[in-house]
């Protein structure tokens, strides 16, 4: 019985959350530092996982398995493949930056009762989310995954509803109502998705008799577990619906702009860069493995939806007047790419999609956090309230531009690699869809550059005239992200090497081969 590394990776932030929550109200700063240290510790563990993981080795590694609820055939089964490792790493990397970026976001304005400790709560909730996200990446038991897939909604819900931007353009009262509306919308959307998935989970149990991903996938593969076509499709739809809400896929996306708009920038990053990834990840791991046939059956429809998300999200991003909502719609467009890559059923597409999850996490974090710094300075999210910032805060503007360029996936920055892989992967099977999707890169340039032009260039607005440039803390947050973007853009091999074997596995699960190049095919 070796050291349960995966469990530790998830448990550490959980304990950290409890500890942080327990810090007395006066010791606000202590709580912040505690949270930061815990997140760094988690990062260390995640790195250990990365080190211990052998891309050439078994499909699931560092596995742990204990009986949990035999009554329901539920086991506590953990294991990571390349995709999971990459995403765990992403999560563990982003959380410290999120904490650091949100350093002052939860300092209480009015002093409620002595027992009212928003700061402690804020950081505790972030750590709780981290724990749940990590364990849902690790779970190889459907039920276990479902538990945390659902449970993570609660801390997210409080993060969205409980903490908003400082000075809000419409005043605190409306801000509160909008916040709680956004929070409720977030929760209800995802809860409905989750409950429908619950029905499917139960159905899966009735069909399969247990919840072990590995066993079921095994049985599906060697045909010992037969599913009626209709059953498989229904179950697939049940699962996919939940993931599509989480991802989010058009037309289930409308909760995201509200949530990201109302939440503070770090929380917005937490939503789109970390939590939503669970949805796309689950599509790869559960939908394709458990229901390969149904997945293939649904592919055309899903691709079309993904395509709509890409174009639609980008067009709406162009139409936004609110910086954060703009980023939100941009993310919707990007999630469209990810889902398209997953269901293109080519190794380029799926590797690209996985890579995309990582890169999108980093790039959105960079863009959104800088946007958050900007907003915190001016106290408004409206693009129109800015102008000429580049003149007074060149570093801020520069990092903002880099984040933007990453969002429009400029070659040389990380997102380009993944986006191009997804496009190629899709194109090689579905040329028309691939070509239309390519329009997305033009639109991406449009909304990013318009945003940059309106906020950063032009004559300096009076309100921003005395805006301070990035502070040290903020630089510490942004600089590493920028470095990561460039590094992964120039040398993504480390990630692809980890991901490729897992993708090969998934491809074999769905019995798909990459289409052959015309020239070879001719020979």
């Amino acid at each position: 019985m070796s050291f349960p590394l995966l469990t530790a990776t998830a448990v550490l932030p959980a304990l950290g959350a409890i500890a942080t929550a327990a810090v007395p109200a006066a010791k606000r700063t202590a709580a912040k530092w505690l949270a930061l240290i815990v997140s760094l510790g988690t990062l260390a563990l995640a790195v250990t996982v990365l080190m211990r993981f052998d891309p050439g080795g078994a499909r699931y590694q560092l596995t742990e398995s204990h009986a949990w609820i035999p009554e329901f055939g539920v086991r506590y089964e953990l294991g990571v493949d390349g995709i999971a490792v990459a995403l765990i790493a992403l999560t563990a990397v982003l959380i410290p930056f999120i904490i650091l970026a949100g350093w002052h976001d939860a300092d209480p304005l009015e002093t409620g009762s002595k027992r009212w400790r928003p700061t402690q709560g804020f950081f505790a909730l972030i750590l709780a989310v981290e724990a749940m996200v990590i364990i849902s990446f690790e779970a190889t038991d459907v039920f276990l995954f479902y538990i945390f897939f659902e449970a993570m909604l609660i801390p997210m819900y409080f993060l969205i509803g409980g903490f908003g931007d400082r000075a809000h353009e419409h005043g605190e009262e409306t801000a509160a109502t909008q916040r709680s509306y956004a929070a409720v919308k977030f929760l209800l959307y995802n809860l409905v998705g989750g409950l429908i998935m619950l029905a499917a989970v139960i159905g899966l149990y009735v069909v399969a008799g247990n919840f072990s991903l590995t066993e079921i996938a095994e049985a599906r593969a060697n045909g010992s577990l037969h599913m009626a076509t209709s059953t498989e499709r229904w179950l697939f739809l049940g699962f996919f619906f939940a993931f599509a809400v989480k991802a989010p896929l058009w037309p289930l996306h409308t909760w995201l702009p509200n949530a990201m708009g109302e939440a503070t920038a770090p929380v917005a990053v937490l939503i789109t860069a970390v939590v939503d990834k669970v949805g796309t990840f689950a599509m790869l791991r559960f939908c394709l493995q458990l229901f390969p046939e149904a997945s293939k059956w649904a592919t055309p429809a899903i691709l079309v939806l993904a395509l709509i998300s890409i174009i639609y999200g980008a067009l709406l991003a162009v139409g936004q007047r609110d910086i954060k909502r703009l980023v939100a719609y941009a993310s919707i467009s990007h999630f469209g790419f990810i889902i398209m890559g997953i269901f293109a059923m080519t190794s380029q597409g799926q590797s690209g999609a996985t890579l995309y999850m990582v890169n999108h996490g980093i790039s959105t974090a960079a863009l959104m956090l800088v946007a958050g710094f900007l907003i915190s300075r001016r106290g408004s999210r409206l693009i129109a309230d800015y102008g000429g910032v580049q003149k007074v805060a060149p570093v801020l503007a520069g990092t903002f531009l880099i984040g933007g360029l990453a969002t429009l996936s400029l070659p040389g920055l990380a997102p380009f690699v993944s986006e191009f892989l997804v496009l190629v992967g899709t194109f090689s099977r579905y040329p028309v869809i691939g070509i239309i999707a390519t329009l997305g890169i033009v639109l991406a340039a449009l909304y990013t550059l318009v945003l940059y032009q309106r906020t950063m260039t032009g004559p300096v607005k009076a309100e921003v005239a005395h805006m301070p440039d990035l502070r040290v803390r903020e630089l510490v947050v942004v600089a590493p992200l920028v470095v990561l973007l460039i590094f992964l853009g120039v040398y993504p091999k480390p990630v692809t090497d980890i991901v490729n074997p897992a993708v090969k596995q998934t491809m074999s699960d769905v019995h798909k081969k990459d289409p052959q190049p015309e020239v070879e095919a001719a020979k």
Partner: protein, 549 residues
């Protein structure tokens, strides 16, 4: 063991006999019930003989000891294998001592114990004339607002009768799910209903609606039990006996008609179906299933909150226990007749409860409707007609009762000048004023909503799983949808507590005595434990999943 029923004794009495053979009573196996009822009678005597100032303490003491002892007895019996291998019929066929009976009795006793704690709470209401008072009227008989009431308050009277009443109710509830013939069923029903009617009427604050609740509950309850009784009569007419075993045999056709004279009744399915339906209707009334639910909101709102909490938890447990036994032991042969009907009832109950709850503005009414929705979920497990179904229902009941008592206990804490502040608007910003209480209540709400890692989810999953396995996929889907609807109003309360600005004239949160704290604490603990590691209790319920015949 088929019933050599008491009744055969009576029939023999028709012809001359040498000596009366005394009925055989297994006191050991009946001890839980006997202890409680004995304590109740003792309570009455205490009311008669113990001086007023010390009654409260004596009553509380007696009640707690009795319930604890009775619970110990239940555990002892269960440990002695009476739940599984030695399960059998006791008291000449009147009472079954088997797994479900013991499991439910244990649950009821724990609920009752927590109930006693909340009943005995005397820190919440501001002291009247320097005397600590609980949430019951100083003198139930005196007219609200009258001089006699004022005098009673001044004298520091309290209605200590509530404790014996509670014990009687618990006693009835202990028998109810164990009753093995229809007569016992009816008697138990009345034994636990009548005290509850009274308990509803004796609130200290808001006495008018309290009395109104009592009237409604009483009249409708009596109405319902009349139906039950008529149903019993018809079943008796059908089978010539009220013993479950005999009826079951007649239903299965193992007992052939004795004489052609009885052709009209014996084995006349009309009697059976109508009778069965009417009895079931009586039980559905008690569990608060649509369309027999309408008393629930009013009574839950009007009754003193501790009573509501106890009633909401224990009554459901007892009634569902009885319903299970009736359907699984007496009418399994009729499965194909009653299952579709129960499907319909379950569906309308789930949806009805959830939908109407959306627009509620009073926390107690809200919880009432949520309890209706939950009745629907449990019914989904009932109609599974499989041992899994039984055990899932048992588990759900156990989990649910603790959440409910805890939730209502929290409600008693939030008070303003007019007593408990039950209007939702008053709960705005509670999370800021007293985060702990709000957090605890949030936990209960999330459990009601069936969020993972709470007992609510485990229970819901168990029930739906059983239903799905029995091929009731539709029920599962509808259940899922309605729990999505239900989630909406639980979340509304959480939003209110945490994301709304506190009202300046908002209510205060009273600091309770250890009694209520225990009740709430146990509630939270059970909720989380059953959510994270439900296996042990699932096993317990699983072993208890078989009825003796």
């Amino acid at each position: 063991m088929s019933a050599p029923a008491v009744h055969s004794l009576w029939t023999m009495a028709a012809d001359p006999i040498e000596k009366i053979q005394a009925p055989k009573i297994e006191y050991g196996q009946l001890s839980p019930t006997l202890i409680v009822i004995g304590a109740a009678i003792l309570g009455v005597l205490i009311e008669a003989f113990v001086p007023r100032r010390s009654r409260y303490y004596v009553q509380v003491f007696v009640a707690i000891v009795a319930l604890a002892a009775s619970f110990a007895a239940v555990v002892g019996l269960a440990a002695g294998g009476y739940g599984t291998t030695k399960a059998g019929i006791a008291a000449m066929g009147a009472i079954a001592v088997d797994g479900p009976a013991l499991f439910l009795q244990g649950t009821i006793l724990l609920a009752g114990l927590l109930g006693v704690f909340t009943f005995a709470e005397r820190r919440l209401d501001p002291a009247a004339h320097g005397k600590r008072v609980d949430s019951f009227a100083a003198q139930a008989a005196s007219v609200p607002g009258s001089d006699s009431e004022k005098a009673a308050v001044k004298a520091g009277f309290t209605t200590t009768e509530v404790f014996p009443l509670l014990l009687f109710a618990i006693g009835g509830m202990l028998i109810f799910p164990a009753a093995n013939d229809l007569l016992t069923l009816f008697i138990a029903l009345e034994v636990f209903s009548l005290p509850l009617y009274l308990l509803c009427a004796v609130a200290r604050r808001k006495r008018l609606i309290s009395q109104e609740a009592a009237v409604k509950y009483f009249l409708l309850g009596a109405f319902a039990s009349a139906f039950t009784l008529f149903g019993i009569a018809l079943l008796y007419g059908y089978a010539g006996s009220v013993s479950y075993a005999t009826i079951a045999q007649v239903v299965d056709g193992t007992v052939q008609n004795v004489s052609p004279a009885l052709a009209g009744t014996m084995g006349n399915d009309a009697l059976l179906l109508v009778g069965g339906a009417m009895v079931v209707m009586g039980l559905l009334f008690k569990v608060g299933a649509v369309p027999f639910h309408m008393w629930t909101p009013d009574v839950y709102q009007g009754a003193p909150t501790p009573v509501t909490g106890f009633m909401a938890a224990a009554t459901k447990v007892a009634a569902f226990g009885a319903l299970l036994r009736l359907l699984y032991v007496v009418l399994p042969g009729l499965r194909w007749d009653w299952r579709p009907v129960m499907w319909a009832v379950a569906i309308v109950t789930m949806l009805g409860g959830a939908i109407v709850a959306i627009t509620q503005t009073d926390i107690k009414r809200l919880l009432a409707y949520s309890s209706i929705a939950h009745a629907g979920f449990i019914l989904a497990g009932v109609i599974a007609t499989s041992p899994d179904g039984v055990s899932s229902v048992l588990f759900y009941l156990g989990a649910y009762s603790f959440v409910t008592i805890g939730a209502f206990a929290v409600v008693t804490l939030v008070r303003d000048a007019g007593g408990e502040a039950t209007h939702l608007s008053k709960w705005a910003g509670l999370g800021r004023r007293s985060p702990l209480v709000a957090a605890v209540f949030a936990v209960f709400l999330l459990a009601f909503a069936g969020i993972p890692l709470t007992s609510g989810f485990a229970g819901k999953f168990a029930v739906f799983k059983a239903a799905a396995e029995s091929g009731a996929g539709a029920i599962v889907v509808i259940g899922v949808i309605s729990s999505a609807i239900a989630a909406f109003f639980y979340i509304r309360v959480i939003v209110l507590m945490f994301f709304s600005q506190p009202r300046p004239e908002g209510p205060t949160v009273a600091v309770p005595s250890p009694l209520t704290m225990t009740a709430i604490g146990v509630g939270v603990a059970v909720t989380l434990v059953l959510g994270v590691a439900p296996q042990y209790f699932l096993d317990l319920a699983g072993q208890a999943g078989v009825f003796v015949r």
